[in-house]
Subunit: 207 residues, 2 copies
DNA sequence: TCCGATACGTTGCGACTGCAACGCAAAAGG
DNA sequence: CCTTTTGCGTTGCAGTCGCAACGTATCGGA
């Protein structure tokens, strides 16, 4: 072989450029040439590593998933045995609270729209969320007989909540702090550790 | 004047075609020519009614908003004085439970992505959700001292929840029934009318 | 009856798209 | 040394895009 280049590394580099373009200018502006320009290479090289555009798009999606996974793995909060803390650590990774996650969030929204027409993209998205839903539901059950909601419903709700909060934050409809507070509140509900009601409620029950 | 055509009606007709294209083939396929073809007219006519593409896009967004509004106005559930029922009627309109709302949902997702690059689209989206958030929060407060969550947080959460559920249903990650059940469960929580916990909990409290 | 405004349709332009094809340089193996 | 494989750049092509310009037909008012 000649130059001997790490194929996967190159692809990741290009996928990075793609994600930047997608986040900053929208998925409609993701073209071979734009990605190449963003990466500082020629369009020909992009074609060399991805034979088709769709191949590149899907690979970029995998890169995001891997990145979230990686961030989760070296999160101190995500290790331990407090289910509530574990689930919180997982879900907060999906909220665009810093620059990195904002970029990923924009990409995620764009891909959700993209998935409407690309079944294989939809499938990959689906498998990711299904995995997380199962994880969350399991943790809630592990916390034992707690919240007022069925664990499956609570898990589905939390995941959808985070998705919606992310959309609202990205759209400027919601401050990041408010999103975090809303997530915390619903985590409390899901795990049954309800903080004191805002106004005098019926009977304050606590563990 | 010649032919004397209802300008607004024509624009609505074209916007309808746009929405169909957006829902079925994605926003990236929305072009003057495609919209024209879908509407069964020439591209020139589309240009006659919308001087620019962006003008058309924003008008189409208004059409969706008006349609939701209209559907809400002749919904028997949306009239009455039970706050919980009112909010439920409002939020369920945003869930893709039938063909019409599925189309609108796809459009909404596409536009959320689109808004990332178009500030005026983002502003219009923002104003719509802000109005609904205020309405929901008001209704929750009107229900009085009920759920474990602050009314503002509960309203924000419900709106985000519905948004997320819609995305998951559209992506095929979630069955429509499950989405509805999840919404119902969280409405119960928000309004403090908690249905019986799934497994033996502490103390079954009911009104 | 002429005028002009409105309602379209047609054409064309420059820019851009994804992609195939080809070309050349470099390096490992014979 | 020479062939072959791999990395990467260039060019070209058919198609699409938004949009401006122009053409025409139709009607109401003067």
């Amino acid at each position: 072989m000649p130059k001997q280049v790490d194929h996967h590394e190159r692809r990741t580099l290009l996928a990075d450029a793609l994600l930047r373009v997608a986040a900053n200018r929208g998925l409609m502006d993701v073209s071979l040439r734009h990605v190449a320009a963003e990466a500082g290479v020629t369009a020909g090289m992009v074609q060399h590593y991805f034979r088709t555009k769709d191949e590149m798009m899907i690979f970029a999606l995998d890169v995001v998933a891997a990145r979230v996974q990686a961030r989760l793995e070296d999160d101190p909060d995500a290790t331990g045995d407090d289910p509530r803390r574990l689930v919180g650590a997982l879900l907060v990774q999906l909220l665009p609270l810093d620059a990195d996650r904002e970029l990923e969030g924009r990409v995620a929204v764009a891909y959700h729209a993209y998935a409407a027409t690309r079944p294989d993209v939809a499938a990959r998205l689906r498998q990711d969320t299904e995995g997380m839903r199962a994880a969350v539901a399991g943790r809630i059950r592990a916390a034992g007989h707690a919240g007022p909601l069925d664990p499956e419903i609570a898990a589905t709700g939390l995941l959808a909540l985070v998705e919606g909060l992310a959309v609202h934050v990205l759209g400027g409809h919601l401050a990041p702090d408010a999103a975090r507070a809303t997530l915390d509140g619903h985590l409390d509900v899901a795990f049954g550790s309800v903080s004191t009601p805002p106004r005098a409620a019926r009977s304050g029950s606590r563990a």
